[in-house]
């Protein structure tokens, strides 16, 4: 103890502490990496990404049967009641209402082929009106129509007229940005 002076003799207290730490690290083997901080960071990133993905209003499930047309319009999507017109079916709020084949409604009763669609839209309108009556947000009569680019105008207007009968007359046509 009383032999050679310590190596840090000429340094101030902070430097001495730093060199002591370095010497210790060089001398000891690393037993295990502490992953806790990394786990915290990963968890935060994961929660952020999941929340962003789930809350994206433009989160429209695309498929070969549903390819909306391209457009240069820049208006952002506002989430509301949705009608999907794919090559195979028409859905209201992502629940199948009627089946399509060659852009014609498949039904055993052709005269009332659109009844399931009317019922689904009326049910949704009723829910929104009830929410308004109980103090919720007012029923804005908006509906977003997500249709495949090949949907003929006749079918498009048929669906629009059906939604108009159910008091959805403020249409938002959903398109892909060019």
């Amino acid at each position: 103890m009383s032999g050679a002076p310590p190596e840090t003799e000429n340094y101030d207290d902070d430097d001495a502490f730093f060199f002591r730490k370095r010497r210790k690290k060089h001398g000891d083997a690393i037993e295990g990496l502490n992953l806790t901080a990394m786990m915290d960071m990963m968890t935060i990133i994961l929660v952020f990404l999941i929340k962003q993905y789930a809350s994206a209003s433009e989160n429209v499930p695309l498929s070969p049967e549903l390819q909306p047309p391209l457009s240069s319009i820049k208006t952002e999507i506002e989430a509301t009641t949705s009608i999907f017109i794919t090559k195979a079916e028409i859905m209201v709020d992502q629940k199948p209402a009627v089946e399509l084949r060659n852009w014609q409604v498949v039904s055993a009763d052709p005269k009332n082929a659109l009844n399931p669609l009317n019922e689904a839209l009326n049910k949704r309108a009723g829910q929104l009106e009830l929410i308004e009556q109980r103090g919720g947000p007012p029923f804005d009569h908006r509906v977003m129509i997500v249709a495949d680019k090949d949907v003929p105008y006749e079918l498009l207007t048929t669906v629009m007229m059906a939604s108009q009968r159910a008091k959805f007359y403020d249409y938002r046509m959903i398109v892909r940005l060019k």
Binding site: L46, E58, I73, E154, T157
Partner: protein
């Protein structure tokens, strides 16, 4: 307690970390390839030539244009045919002449500034939805500014 008397063994976080990394990579990839979606507002036809959607507006409707998309042509007519002449742009090849339509709409906007901002758009039954959207794009604006940003989709009444 069984096992409670052992040393302070750390939980093995490596498998959990693997799952997290995979999930993050998946979410980042999915988000990157997600198509950017936008919305084009469209009004339902009212009893006033489309200038006032439901509920109907109180003011007297302005003179408005109707754009009709047919199989081989796009026709433009106004609600006051005596003052504002009709015109059309014909299809060349398989594509509609959207640039010519934009130029024509600019002429109408410049020559008849009192025209309503809303255009009534109608189409033949088999016209695909993509042609409707492209027509709306062509009528909405050009490099000089807004043309006819509002669209009311018209339907034939039985």
């Amino acid at each position: 307690m069984a096992g409670g008397g052992g040393g302070s063994e750390e939980l093995n976080l490596v498998p959990y970390l693997d799952i997290m990394v995979n999930l993050i990579m998946f979410l980042i990839t999915v988000t990157a390839y997600m198509a950017e979606m936008r919305q084009a507002p469209v009004l339902a036809p009212g009893g006033d030539g489309g200038q006032c959607a439901n509920p109907p507006c109180e003011d007297k409707p302005k003179v408005f244009l109707t754009v009709a998309v047919a199989e081989k042509t796009i026709a433009i007519v106004s609600s006051d045919r005596e003052k504002i002449p009709a015109s059309q742009v014909d299809k060349t090849g398989s594509e509609y002449p959207y640039a010519a339509l934009t130029a024509k709409m600019r002429e109408y906007r410049t020559n008849y500034p009192d025209l309503a901002d809303n255009v009534m758009l109608i189409a033949d039954k088999p016209i695909p939805y993509s042609a409707i959207i492209n027509t709306m794009d062509a009528m909405r604006s050009d490099s000089q500014g807004d043309l006819f940003p509002g669209v009311t989709l018209g339907v034939a009444v039985k």
